[in-house]
Symmetry: C2
Subunit: 108 residues, 2 copies
Amino acid sequence: MSALTPEADPLAHPELEQIDLPDVLHALSDPVRLSIVAALASGEERTCKSFDLPVTKSTCTHHFRVLREAGVIRQRLEGTTRLNSLRRAELDGRYPGLLDAVLGAAGS
Amino acid sequence: MSALTPEADPLAHPELEQIDLPDVLHALSDPVRLSIVAALASGEERTCKSFDLPVTKSTCTHHFRVLREAGVIRQRLEGTTRLNSLRRAELDGRYPGLLDAVLGAAGS
DNA sequence: ATCCTTGTACGACGGATATCGAACTTTGAT
DNA sequence: ATCAAAGTTCGATATCCGTCGTACAAGGAT
């Protein structure tokens, strides 16, 4: 039962069907998190530190966790860093056009 | 200076250029408010009471104000009621595809 | 082994938020 | 004139949220 308990995994990601629209919108409603998502729009994997955000480390951890738990980003362990990427294809399948619209709106 | 002071107007709506994306996303991130917006998607004007929301009157007032101040809906006085409508064309001009994507996602 | 880098965990704190109930206002109907 | 209906306003409350600092853990480099 160890691998199946979600609480036990420190890097738990929601399944596609578990992603909730209000949660996604809330995750995107913060300027810091929106800038993270916009920076990931190119498709690259980037470490947390590479973003140069106007908040401290612990606040960064918080924002990346909110995005991950809402299903917006994926976090992958790589040595001592976490590589972040957008779950774009999955989000596009679940909520067609949403991410593009938000990214377009954030860019203007 | 009476007509130009925003605070004096109890039904102040933001101009298109003043609408802020994080504010809009936050306004849409609440399930009650999302259901209001979805119900207004047809384009009709509807009174507050016609929604039959699972909250009290004063909470309704709160949610409609959040949506109005974020620029998502317009409220018009008509006798003793307020007629609510989506600012769809304006939002579409400012954030193309956003409202459609959210409404599509909320409907599924 | 030691240190540096990257990030998490744990409180803590102040401000925002969703909710309610009760009192009030305004309008329209009886 | 009275009354009911639709909302607002005003506290009050409980919770959530963004932020920070400090302490901690794990990997990589020297």
